[in-house]
Subunit: 341 residues, 6 copies
């Protein structure tokens, strides 16, 4: 049966059963709509305001989320759903269409920065990206208490596979979030504290936490490619969360670094900024241990080919969790990040 | 005599006689101005707050309006003007310069979506398009009670020639609007009801109606071309309205479909959205009658050249009033619209 | 069964039966190929060097050919084929991919100008467009004596539907070509004489004639859209030619202007060139009769909005067969063409 | 020692000594920052809220300021500083990176138009340009009472070298500003009155004056080049202001037109707007005296090559202070400006 | 009377009288032509193979030539013409249309590099630029023995006004060429020797000399602007050459540097190449004397803002005849040229 | 000492010692040059026509070569050189400048396809890329018998690290080439046979072999990044070749897969082409063993989100040596390659 094209307001997030929608957001200019694929699965135990949402393609050049969630569309059986599961394989369809971080053919704004006041409701913030924010606020947030946001790294930075969560003042909440994060099986799990609200830039992750949702983020690939293990981590982590948080029947086993005890929980971070434009050469792969003061990479200036490259030095003892992916780096770019427990 | 370059505030809309202006709106960045051609004709019977304005080029790739109104600049004799006639052959000069729907060389916003609060008066809405809105609000609306807005269809959709008007709770008002619309002579006249104010997107047509103006809109061509009959309809419809509403001396005769009784007044509409990107093949020309359930076109996916095309089915019995013009259609695009009485 | 991906050299144009190929032409730079869909149908009466080829999308923004030939892929039954029929719905796949006249994402050359010496075989003519020429020369020309090349008008010019053929010094050959052209059913059939070989620019149509093929060309639409009647003319004309020239079993009836006797055979042409950049307004639709000296359109210069438009005058008594489609016309552009018997 | 990368909030504008910063403003989308070079020099006599700032590259294609201030970075000795001197050779680093008036790779807004309410603090004004405004407001304005803003003319207009200042109702303030302006040595000094606050567009210069700062602006070159004398004027004017206003020890001598008595103080201005697009030919160089009614240039329309060019006529007796630089001029562009005492 | 649109072959370069043509060169792809304005003036003394041609806009962003020659179109009276004068105000109409050095909207080739074998006559050199070369070869060269080619400097380099000529082994020929060059009145006249034919790149100037024509080139401005004195030099130099070489009746007086004895004849040149990308700051204006070893400019690297700029040193004693105009310079760019007698 | 700017003809490849050049190739249009960094090291045992050249950046977005060779510039001591070593860290400087596979800002041709007849010597092949070919032919080939060409994979494909060589009919030659290839230490070494000369497309690698040079190619990274091990392999492989082939004193030890015996020599290959545009999901990482018939990836069509993805099947038992990197793949793209011994 073909997907039903519907406005957000008309979509049914509460009746039992499965519905596959194209949620239509009006095009800014012509007689057309952006169609966001949204699958709603509601089981007999669903409770108002509770459910699990999994988002792919918050940015349009991150593919592990879309691929993993597209697989789940066929793998999750409606009969097995206990509570509410919402699958959004492509949240930012406008950016996905052009295969770029932002919807460069439309308003070109980073969706993960515009969870701000007035997005999609005030005239000066009427672009498609802001209206996707309004869509999330209008129909997703009221129906879920768990949000999994599958991200990857784009063209700028490479990452060791990781999940992230925000700690909470209530240790029990922190613990259940950490558990969800660990079940993805990634080598690194990163914890941090949500920052207080910034008026001009705020992300989906921050808003989810502001609203008290249990949010899990990831970095599962980079370079606008699809990563073999990244897809596996995403698929497993979403299923595990759905099962363990009571939204889905079934059983899962720990995988990979979670299973073999090599998963690291990290928290403190130190990064290095490129002081000038150049080409970055890493000396250490992501995921390796480095020591404070160790030269972990070089910044080459081919405009001055006979000069020594500049050494890039780790700021603390820890795991190199991220570094520049594209060799060409701009002045001011974060080129190395090290994290420690 | 060359046109006088003047600010909107300095232009004279009330003294008897004719004045040809370039109304200057300051360029957003350099020492330059956008010059909107505005001709004001004031006769001895002009009343405060009353008059007829005709706008061309609300979008920059619609040419029947600019051409027809440019002809009227030379055809309307000042001595024949009774009330107030304002001719704006090129409203959106920034978009017309680049020949695109929106002013892609400037702020790139659709003028017919930004008649919203704060346009041209708040810092975040300071682009040329928003300031054209402010210009209309500042000097056009206070001087007219009738607004004719000559549109065409751009690259995305083709149309049967039509005029449009908003019905009013007062049947007399609806009737005088319908009469104006019919005198253009188009095969189709479309009536509808203005929607309540939307905070983030609102058109010239909606604001004209909100303010109680008698507004007439049109679709008189498409494809960024100039249509032979489209120009004729526009020219005749504007003159007829000016004469019949007491702004101009003279007499007119009904033309074309209005004269021969083949003009249809339609109201209910049903449209079809493309479920995926492909190439559209119409099976029926605009203006033909179709039946609910009839396959009126095909959506071909040349990426899957050996698949059957998808049939596009009419949703009601009526006239096919619009369908995709460019063969390449995007997911979510409105590809067929049928209207019935 | 999926299409077989094969090099041109490996494709089988002679064995009886049907084969659907993606003919691969190596990408100029990366590890990829351009895939041209080619369906070969060979019947029991096929003779060496004889057959009928139908090409769509010689230019990438002309859609009546691709759509009509894609329909024929499913409509022609292999069992009905007597001789050899080659269907190429998308000849210029590189231009079709970007939806432009030329392959603007690749070498950007007009395929219908590079049937010149060395195309695709000398280093300075190694782009994909030149290699498509070489593909035609290598495997299509040796297998056909009839070539139908379905064209449309693009963004620049609109046309009355027409077919074209080259007259030959042998009247019998001219007659069989005229007959094929007439069976498309278009209102106009245009005859002309092939020009002697130009060293720097030569079209598919000219080379087909140089090689003694019976070539039929068309103009069946414009504006990068799909035309209802254009598709019908193409489909019917190809089938009629295949049947009447002994490549296909079956029967056809004359259609439209061919059936009702309103089809005109025209030969002499006179065109008007825009002396400066401006906007073109037609006063007469394509297909109408005009008289020498009649003003058939206006050239408006909105840069000089208060000037009279320039009258565009027909050069002979005849049918207005083509005129500018996009309203914006450049200096030197052909804006009107009139043809007479 | 390498520059210290710091947030605006963390930079120290008050302790004695010299500090060279890269002030980081977060990138709108990726893990990167825009780095603004800011050198702070604080001497023993520095008073709270007082100091002199010199800005280069308010626009990214104006080079006399960046070059002159970069020289001053090495020429001003910390030991000679009495008060507070802040050197910002590149204010608009995002525009300078692309070498354009505006940061066309980022938000593309003209920095000198967005000193408006909410810049950098409201969600709809969160681009880098607006956040540069917020940076100036947060840490520069509170630390200076004198602002020198070195501008040049870009691609659109050429200028006679000039400085500018706003007169004040207090003649003493006007006099000290005029004195600063004169010490640059330029042939022309232009005085004007600040306009009342505009809600949608306001410049650095206007805000500086609104806040009671002594502001000096300049036009020291054009065409995205570096002007020999322009750099000299900027360097000398900044040093002279610093010394004479008590921020720096040392002595300076008048130079050039200031020294030889040929410097003109002008105030009244009259400009000419291009009525249509064309090519501008000047008949008089900038800096020459012209008379009201004198033809000072021609506007050529090469689209109409056999027409007479349009004479461009001076509106008053005075000095031709500016005219179009690029020969191609757009309709509405200011093509000539004459100023008189 | 409107210009006559004609092919090059159809234009009449020999009958007495004046003819204003648009010479049409077929568009590479669509039904359009490039129209080159060519005015032919033939007097009673015209001799076969002799005449004077003046070219403007060999590059599309050089405006002194087009403006000066456009003025001459109205100033030269047919009755005064003795021999043959051909005025081509816009040679490279395709580049002039886009206002760029090369026809970036067409083949993008530098016209002054493609006077090579096969231009416009072999398939791989069929672009409009190559066909302009063929036009010159077909109808201009056979009708002239004197060629004046008015150039300016574009965005990359600024120049002291100069004319250029090739010396010849026959001193009498060198002398008559020098005389023509001197009569323009420029401060500098540069002589050089034509280089032997290069197979892959050759200019109009070189071909003119190869064919034995007396060629005069110029640099009369830069920055895509129009220079007051540049236009004057061009106009005067063309008239003087026409009169003194027997093509036109009349008398001229020496002007400017030619009249006042300050004109310099230079020959030897030394240039400096930028070793890396940066911003160029001149210390000396074009036209000044410099000494070998003198630092005449700086190359700044703002990517390394705290480094000393690199000194740019003159290679010989002489006049600084050219240096970078745009401040941004690329690695390998010629940034300074000094010439000496 | 700064690099010497010299023409290719002027560079000295024979005198003993070290010379660091910028070899200048004239810019196609403006007064500038492309500067190729070339370091020549000549020792006492150098023989005519013999030497080792190492090229980086044949494509402009491959960085392991440039980085490794830039390190070698400082690491190889002139005193240790026995024969002749030529280091070219950036061969395609025009492509490197824009960071793209081809010089998209210049002629945009793939350097590794234009080692064809006439490159850089015929007018139709005069672009910078063709002239780089001519530079290699003019001064590099005559001075070397060993060519190492360090490549990586760009945005389109990912690779297991590998070196490549052409086998020769003389087993001894094959063996010495295999030995050079193995010493890089990569997990895979690929052997193949040079194809006979293609007239329209030919690579550096093919020409090197045609001329009898011992050529080694590599794939050491992808995604326009710099790979940690890729740089190490390149550096080691070049040094090992130089030492073992008698051009450099010193000793080396085997590394990585060469040292530990896990290096595989592969020869037969089978690849899979994408039948339509979609997103590629790998199921197996490069370097893994796969079996013929195994599904190694999926092709997803998000335009048809509810369809099953298409399985991508390995064609033989072997190592998956390459697959699509960017998730978005075009119709016709090679998406998987498997190689076996």
């Amino acid at each position: 049966m073909p997907r039903l094209i519907a406005t957000a307001a008309a979509a049914d997030f509460t009746s039992p059963g499965r519905r596959d929608y194209w949620i239509r957001l009006r095009h800014t200019s012509v007689a057309a709509a952006h169609l966001i694929p949204v699958t709603v699965l509601v089981g007999p135990e669903a409770r108002p305001g509770e459910g699990l949402v999994a988002f792919g393609a918050c940015h349009g050049n991150e593919y592990e989320g879309p691929v993993a969630i597209k697989h789940l569309l066929r793998e999750i059986r409606t009969a097995h759903v206990r509570g509410r599961i919402i699958l959004v394989p492509l949240l930012n369809v406008a950016a996905f269409r052009v295969g770029a971080r932002e919807s460069t053919g439309d308003d070109g704004v980073n969706l993960n920065r515009v969870f701000v006041d007035g997005a999609g409701t005030t005239p000066a913030m009427a672009g498609i990206t802001s209206r996707i924010v309004e869509f999330v606020r209008q129909v997703i947030w009221p129906n879920v208490h768990i949000a999994i946001d599958v991200h990857s790294g784009g063209e700028v930075a490479r990452f060791i596979h990781r999940t992230s969560f925000f700690t909470h003042e209530d240790p029990a909440i922190s613990a259940r979030r950490e558990r969800m994060a660990r079940w993805f099986g990634t080598p690194v799990v990163l914890s941090s504290t949500n920052s207080p609200g910034g008026s001009i830039s705020r992300g989906l992750y921050q808003e989810a936490d502001d609203l008290g949702k249990d949010w899990i983020g990831t970095e599962l690939g980079f370079g606008a490619s699809t990563d073999v293990r990244g897809v596996r981590y995403a698929r497993h982590g979403i299923l595990a969360a759905a099962i363990q948080r009571g939204q889905l029947h079934g059983a899962v086993e720990p995988i990979c670094h979670h299973a073999d005890g090599t998963q690291r929980l990290l928290r403190n971070r130190a990064s290095v900024t490129a002081p000038y434009r150049g080409h970055y050469e890493p000396l250490v792969d992501c995921g390796q241990f480095v020591s404070a003061g160790q030269t972990v990479g070089f910044l080459h200036d081919f405009n001055r080919i006979d000069e020594e490259p500049l050494g890039v030095v780790a700021g603390l003892n820890g795991v190199l969790v991220s570094q520049a992916w594209g060799a060409r780096v701009e002045q001011g770019q974060m080129i190395v990040m090290v994290a420690a427990a």
